[in-house]
């Protein structure tokens, strides 16, 4: 247990247990498979939100292009599933059987080279991790080595999201265009559309989420995590202390990208298709708001924030479709103005003291969370180019 304690306080352990209990026990009991599948879909966004907590909340790097990585992961998975669904028998009516239907419609007669390796599940799983990581590494290296930060980084990532969307839509012969890659059926012969499969995928998804939470917790509690917070608050001092700031930033950006990609892959599996509408600017910004509502400093908060916003979205748009945007807009503003630390901030100020009474041994006070900056979000020193 000593090992565990070194990277997790009792509070955080409790948080993890509660998330696990909610995911594995409460929700499956409370919901039918339809709602549970929906809930599983929301959880895939939580991967992105956790990545943003690390990247933005802890590291001060706001990426408005997380949808890019979500999409890359999702597309890798979708390419594999699509190839499996496009057997020569299933596509016999096409002029070239054996290739995905949208390629056939676009007069492509042979499988393009970059699709070939996706016949292998092993390669696909490696690609889901490696492709976004590599992409993030390139972007991160180019930007952070040159000390681009803050607002500039946000806008450039946003532009990258726009570029990728236009590319995917424009190259419809290779990507399925605006419709995306649809009609995915089986994974290694296992039908992913049945209720049973949906249950299993939900649990796999939940298990991955817990694993990712643990991993993030380890990263945050390591020296690297502490350096990350230091970089956010006083970048120059970290640099003058002899650390390579850009490497720290590149690492956390790549890490967040990989988390997003895992979310994207799970999304494809559970929803059964992938389309460019998850890559663009709007979904990317929505993912930031999930993270902000949960509290940008808490990885557990991110999970709850994602669930809350999506739940509200589904409920409101069912009951008052026309008022939904007002509600969402007000939520953005309220989170920024009134609750800058989101749900986790509320928890910390109102609930945490009560919980502490039960779980912290007498005579020891709970450690104050050192990662909370004094100002709601510190003074953003990186807002302007190095002056």
């Amino acid at each position: 247990m000593t090992n565990l304690k070194s990277f997790m306080s009792r509070q955080e352990m409790l948080g993890l247990l509660v998330v696990a209990a909610v995911l594995f026990v409460v929700m499956p009991l409370a919901m039918d498979i339809f709602r549970l599948n929906l809930f599983g879909k929301y959880l895939t966004y939580a991967f992105v939100a956790i990545g943003l907590v690390l990247c933005w909340g802890k590291g001060g790097i706001l990426s408005l292009g997380q949808g890019v990585f979500f999409g890359l992961g999702g597309y890798c998975m979708a390419m594999y599933l699509k190839l499996e669904a496009s057997t020569p028998e299933a596509t016999a009516i096409q002029s070239t059987p054996g290739i995905p239907d949208f390629m056939d419609w676009n007069q492509i007669t042979a499988l393009p080279w970059f699709w070939q390796p996706f016949n292998s599940l092993t390669f696909t799983i490696v690609a889901i991790i490696a492709v976004p990581a590599l992409f993030a590494f390139i972007i991160g290296t180019a930007m952070f080595k040159r000390r681009v930060g803050g607002v500039y980084f946000a806008i450039i990532t946003q532009a990258i999201a726009a570029i990728l969307t236009i590319l995917i839509i424009g190259q419809q012969g290779y990507t399925g265009g605006v419709n995306g890659i649809t009609d995915l059926r089986t994974l290694k012969g296992w039908d992913i559309r049945t209720d049973e499969a949906k249950y299993i995928l939900y649990y796999v998804n939940g298990g991955l989420l817990i694993a990712v939470l643990l991993l993030s917790q380890i990263v945050l509690k390591s020296k690297l995590g502490r350096l990350l917070v230091a970089v956010r608050d006083q970048e120059d001092r970290v640099r003058f202390s002899g650390y390579d700031v850009s490497n720290i930033k590149i690492f956390v950006f790549c890490f967040a990208a990989v988390l997003s990609a895992i979310g994207g892959a799970m999304f494809t599996l559970q929803v059964g298709f992938m389309s460019p509408s998850f890559v663009g600017i709007v979904p990317s910004i929505e993912m930031v708001i999930f993270c902000a509502v949960g509290g940008r400093l808490s990885i557990f908060g991110a999970v709850y924030g994602t669930l809350l916003v999506n739940w509200a979205k589904t409920t409101f748009s069912e009951t008052f479709p026309e008022l939904w945007l007002f509600g969402l807009g007000a939520l953005f503003i309220a989170v920024v103005l009134v609750f800058p630390n989101g749900l986790s901030g509320l928890y910390r100020s109102y609930l945490a003291p009560i919980v502490d009474r039960f779980i912290v041994p007498k005579g020891r006070k709970a450690e104050p969370d050192k990662s909370t900056p004094a100002a709601p979000f510190g003074a953003d020193t990186t807002a302007k180019p190095a002056e």
Binding site: G150, V151, I163, G329, P340
Partner: protein, 308 residues
């Protein structure tokens, strides 16, 4: 690809293509000026910029309907009044937003981004509730439609000329306000050193509000002018956001001259590439080039020469 054409045809095409580039340049400057003021001078990322433009467009729409119904004889000139009204409306809304929202967030630029995104959603839904989800058609006076034929092939669109002239005057106007007026001096003083500016008796809050309102007002004029070339609908504003931000960032945030230079570079690149490549690829290549250059030169084309 030129083999099929005569020299005169080629000459005309280059002339027209150059002119198309100039129109695009004016459009970009008009879009970006307001944002450049707000972002460059105040460090606020106004994601609702597009919605302020659309506010201007809707004001123009209302004006055109009103004039058509009650004072048809003024129809030829209503557009000028509409632009002034658009400026006032967008500027007032800007001042209100600054007072209620932005001034609490000056120390947190990334948070202004989220808050203004929320604001843009609210404005979009407001437009949708008031004007309906469909696009509205703005009727223009006849003299603004059509073109001036110079030769057989070369024809100059009148609304293009109008946008160019308008952009020119607004750019001059902004220059005078920022660099030749008392308000501009105060604004620049606040940008350079807020505390000192306050200490010498400048009302920094008032300056902030005026600057923000000015930026929004110019967005309103831009929106009003764009009713001539684009669509007016609740979500039309979002189309402009990425382009506009890239222009401002590419130009160097704190420099109005940079904004103009980057508008010129991007518009010429885009219109040339659009001519030789297909539309979508031209857009991708332009954006990629801009992002690429920004990675190499993050401070943008023009940056303030300050000791680092």
């Amino acid at each position: 690809m030129f083999a099929d054409y005569t020299w005169t045809e080629l000459g005309s095409i280059f002339a027209m293509q150059g002119f198309a580039g100039l129109i695009l340049f004016s459009v970009f400057v008009l879009m970006a000026l307001g944002l450049a003021i707000i972002f460059g001078q105040m460090g606020v990322i106004n994601m609702a910029h597009g919605e302020f433009m659309i506010l201007g467009a809707y004001v123009t729409y209302l004006c055109s309907n009103f004039v058509e119904a009650y004072a048809p004889s003024f129809f030829g000139v209503y557009f000028f009044f509409a632009m002034i009204l658009a400026f006032v409306a967008a500027g007032s809304l800007g001042a209100l937003v600054e007072w209620s929202l932005i001034r609490h967030l000056y120390k947190r630029p990334l948070d202004t981004l989220l808050a203004t995104w929320g604001l843009s959603l609210i404005l979009q839904q407001a437009y949708r509730s008031i004007f309906g989800a469909r696009e509205v058609g703005v009727t223009l006076p006849n003299w603004l439609l059509g073109s001036v034929p110079l030769t057989d092939i070369i024809e100059i669109p009148i609304n293009g000329i109008f946008v160019m002239v308008l952009t020119f005057f607004i750019a001059i106007g902004v220059y005078f306000i920022l660099f030749r007026s008392r308000m501009g001096m105060q604004t620049r003083a606040v940008v350079q050193n807020r505390v000192m500016a306050g200490a010498v008796g400048i009302n920094t809050e008032k300056v902030d509000r005026h600057t923000f309102a000015l930026g929004c007002g110019i967005a309103g004029i831009a929106g009003s002018a764009f009713t001539m070339i684009g669509s007016t609908g609740p979500t039309a504003g979002q189309l402009y956001i990425v382009d506009t931000f890239l222009i401002v960032v590419f130009g160097g945030a704190a420099s109005l001259l940079g904004t103009i230079a980057s508008s010129f570079a991007i518009s010429q690149a885009q219109s040339t590439m659009e001519f030789f490549l297909s539309g979508s690829m031209a857009k991708v290549l332009t954006l990629l080039t801009v992002v690429g250059i920004l990675m190499l030169r993050p401070q943008g084309l023009f940056s303030l020469k300050i000791r680092r």
